[in-house]
């Protein structure tokens, strides 16, 4: 009796540790207060920027005497909330303007650095023969979208609205990368994501183009965070993204230049 009680208690304790360990995933900054002086910046960037910014981050580290760049990639809406709750960010790159506006009192002057278009993502070989947005209304098709709170989800709703297609998604994912994952695992037949996510999705998925007149141009703004202890390095990172070199990397990953105003 006593033994089994003790064992139960031990198991519960271990379970609690495991739960705590997995719950704390995305706010793990791992940094200390000395981060600024030892050369580290934290860049909060939209999930769709994962591949391109990782590359730019390597270039930044190489060009700035080993200054480390730690990324927090997530849905822009999640990042904006984290910055509002004083998460330690130095730079914020959003996949839309509204989420940058949400934190406008907390950041410097934003600059648009890229834009992106939507594509339909399907499994390699397009087994369901998806041709366009209209086909997504087919009830036999399992369609996954990003949640309406996520910029990619909001853009997808806009495009579907223009196409006059009513789509009942089977899931509203928390960020755009999860949409690609569900399609590449074969759990969903189609999703609406950025063209760049299809490129990053590898050889398990392919894209179906959405015609210009139905498509939505997503504009990506970047800004330094006012509370940052590493203003110079944050500004340097932002400059690199806007430089010819940064723009070349973004283009390589399928991004379009920012809209000219």
């Amino acid at each position: 009796m006593l033994r089994s009680r003790t064992r139960l208690a031990a198991l519960l304790a271990v379970a609690a540790i495991a739960l705590a360990a997995c719950g704390g995933g995305d706010d793990d900054s791992g940094g200390s207060s000395g981060a600024a002086s030892s050369g580290e910046i934290k860049v909060f960037a939209a999930a769709s920027l994962t591949a391109a910014f990782t590359r730019i981050g390597e270039q930044f580290t190489a060009a700035n005497g080993g200054t480390k760049v730690t990324f927090n990639f997530a849905g822009s809406q999640a990042l904006a909330t984290q910055i509002q709750q004083s998460a330690p960010a130095d730079v914020f790159a959003s996949a839309d303007i509204p989420n940058m506006d949400k934190v406008k009192d907390l950041v410097g002057t934003p600059q648009n650095f890229a834009s992106n278009q939507l594509q339909i993502v399907v499994e390699k070989g397009n087994p369901k023969g998806v041709q366009g947005l209209d086909d997504l209304a087919n009830a036999d098709l399992k369609v996954v979208l990003a949640a309406p709170e996520v910029p990619a989800g909001k853009y997808a709703a806009e495009a579907l609205g223009k196409a006059d297609a009513t789509v009942k998604p089977v899931s509203q994912e928390d960020n755009v990368k999860s949409v690609v994952t569900k399609v590449s695992l074969g759990e969903a037949d189609a999703g609406i994501v950025y063209a760049t996510d299809v490129t990053a999705g590898g050889d398990k998925v392919e894209g179906v183009a959405i015609p210009e007149e139905l498509n939505v141009l997503a504009t990506y703004p970047i800004a330094t965070v006012k509370a940052s202890q590493a203003q110079d390095q944050a500004q340097a990172f932002m400059d690199l993204v806007l430089s010819a070199e940064g723009q070349r990397v973004l283009k390589e990953h399928g991004f379009l230049p920012p809209p000219t105003t």
């Binding site: 009680r5 709170e149 089977v170 899931s171 509203q172 695992l185």
Partner: protein, 262 residues
Amino acid sequence: MSARSRVPRLFAVPAALAVAFLAVPLLGLLGRAPWGGIAAELASPRVLEALRLSLVCSLGAVAVSVVLGVPLAFLLARVAFPGRNLVRALTTLPMVLPPVVGGVALLLAFGRRGLAGQWLDRALGITLPFTTGGAILAEAFVAMPFLVITVEAGLRAMDRRFEDAAATLGAGRWLTFRRVTLPLIAPSLFAGMALCWARALGEFGATITFAGNLPGVTQTMPLAVYIALETDVEAAIALSLVLLAISLVVLVALRDRWFPTA
């Protein structure tokens, strides 16, 4: 509380810190709660939808766990079959496994292309991901161990002479189980069900990974809190308070078991 308690005096400091560490987050939640608008928040359709779905899924998970888990607890407690320790380890694995990993494993097993899932899909036309059934499955996977180990502990602790007496009086195995064993382990069974239910109600990682996130179908309370936190902090706090209140009720209901007054 005499001098004979022999607890090092210094323990008071870390112990007090531990209490504060556990209490401050609750105060934070209560302090930021939009008390004025809380009724309106909770009455909003999406909160009610998430609440309804959470009840359906967590009770469904408890039902699955009772139907499958009670017989398993019996076998583990009473039959010395080969590999019993291995089975017991396997049973408790979901308790220590990060739920997200559980979700990925469920996808690879019961997804449309999964080990068992492709068969389910082809033979029966059942696909579990993105369905309420999938959410129940994810919750049961994570919560069933709590029921199994609690019931097993109850079975080991009970006085088996009552069962022997019933048998000598001519009762068969099934009758003995229903009329003697079940009433004797009822407290353990209820405690196990309550633990299992509380765990299922709080399930997040396996659910969002395996079942996805769709209001009214798979978006349970914890998922709704997570999504709401990104756009509407007030709503997230209101939802969190509901879950906190439910947790407290479970604690109070089980207080005699966990905090014997002796």
